[in-house]
Amino acid sequence: MNLADSTQAMNNLLGSEADSQRTLYPYVTGTSVVGIKYKDGILLAADMGGSYGSTLRYKTVERLKPVGKHSIIGASGEISDFQEIMRYLDELILYDNMWDDGNSLGPKEVHNYLTRMMYNRRNKFNPLWNSLVLGGVKNGQKYLGTVSMIGVHYEDNHVATGFGNHLARPILRDEWHENLTFEEGVKLLEKCMRVLLYRDRSAVNKLQIAKITEAGVTISQPYALKTSWDLSAFKNPTAGAEGSW
């Protein structure tokens, strides 16, 4: 072999060129998504923020999307990767519809498809930097699952991504029960989103709630939560520790 080949090999070992081909860190990110099962189907909630590092840069990012007739997806993490995932899912649903037979992909199938996709990308060291929530109803069966960027996946009665796991799920563990009505479900989600708004620095006060039932998908118009900052703890935060902030 000649000198040219060995130089190329050395460059690849140093990795600079190859690295530009795979995701190393996220740039524009969405924060938590929270999802619960309720009496008629699934409710998902997510705010509309897209952070650019510590800057709350974009405030109209739709992080909840319908997938076919039977499912909705919510994403946190890199927004451009979520857009890529939506392209794949829209193509999947398109081909599913093109069969033009009585069959259609339900939420369980979509969830598993996503799991395979995320895990395979992780194995190539080029992950889609997202944590996804996938919920839906098909033939009366409710389904709610989540997939992480490394392919960890599971189903449950309530799921959350990111900070939602730490702040929202404890609330849901205490207060979720079977057969919540729609109003109860929304109130519960708003309670979780409010806590996230207070405590997650990448949360913005503009959120959407998505509902899916046997009848179909509805994603609400964006709205804001009422917050209350006149709690005594907020008034004199350093009362217990003078000098701190």
Binding site: D101, G102, K108, E109, R116
Partner: protein, 276 residues
């Protein structure tokens, strides 16, 4: 069919618009030993005649499990059938792996039909010489399909393929209206009777036939020889005419023999119907 100057290549049309190689492939199906399928709302039964070439040898495998919810019975070139069964199993398992759910039967047969069609439009290939009765269950219910070497597929309530299948079809045509509501046992019994019709007087024993069942809550499986022999004995199928009235089966809607079905038979004698 007679030899003609348009039948050498599968990619040569005849002036009448026929592809003779494809039709010859369908002849191969008719030469194979019989395979029968029937379905109800909840079950599908597949049955086949298994003649060993000699007393010393084992018989050809003609029924294949494709997945827990799908099985096929073949007639024709069994080697082609084996290879296609492997393809069907692959498709089912890949779908299960990606979507963690069962491949709908209708989609599997379309994929199989498209695969068969390719062989009718490539000069370096030949059509598959095997007909497949695909029986399976999915969300939309129980299905029985017939896949032809031509690349066509049809859904059936009941069907028979292979040699002397016309005799079985005649029996099935008399009975099929009641199949949708049949119980599992009645369906198997009708399969055995239909199978017996293709034997032309030969004694029906479990050593020369294979029965397989798939149903709601019941994975596709081939019934073992003892069970089949017990069923044959129970239904007294061995040497008798099938009873006109099933006293113990209230689900049969056709009691007395209807006239129109019998009229159909004489006209068909001597002519094997085309599968297209």
């Amino acid at each position: 069919m007679f030899r003609n100057q348009y039948d050498t290549d599968v990619t040569t049309w005849s002036p009448a618009g026929r592809l003779f190689q494809v039709e010859y492939a369908m002849e191969a199906v008719k030469q194979g030993s019989a395979a029968i399928g029937l379905r109800s709302k909840t079950h599908v039964v597949l049955a086949s005649v298994n003649k060993a070439s000699s007393e010393l040898s084992s018989h050809q495998k003609k029924i294949f499990k494709v997945d827990d919810h799908i099985g096929v019975a073949i007639a024709g070139l069994t080697a082609d059938g084996r290879v296609l069964s492997r393809y069907l199993r692959n498709e089912c398992i890949n779908y299960s792996y990606t979507y963690e759910s069962l491949l709908p039967v209708g989609r599997l047969v379309v994929q199989l039909a498209d695969k068969a069609q390719v062989c009718t439009q490539r000069s370096w290939k030949r059509p598959y010489g095997v007909g497949l009765l695909v029986g399976g269950l999915d969300e939309s219910g129980a299905h029985l399909f017939y896949n032809c070497p031509s690349g066509n597929y049809f859904e059936y309530q009941a069907f028979a393929i292979g040699s002397r299948s016309q005799a079985a079809k005649t029996y099935l045509e008399r009975k099929f209206e009641g199949f949708m509501d049949s119980s599992r046992e009645t369906l198997i019994k009708d399969a055995l009777f239909a199978l017996r019709e293709t034997l032309q007087g030969e004694k029906l024993t479990s050593s020369i036939c294979t029965i397989a069942v798939v149903g709601v809550g019941e994975a596709f499986h081939i019934l073992d020889q003892e069970t089949v022999q017990a069923l044959i004995n129970e239904f007294e199928i061995v040497g008798e005419e099938p009873p006109a009235d099933e006293a113990a089966a209230p689900d049969q809607s056709t009691g007395a023999e209807p006239g129109p079905a019998d009229q159909g038979t004489p006209a068909d004698q001597g002519v094997t119907p085309m599968d297209i």
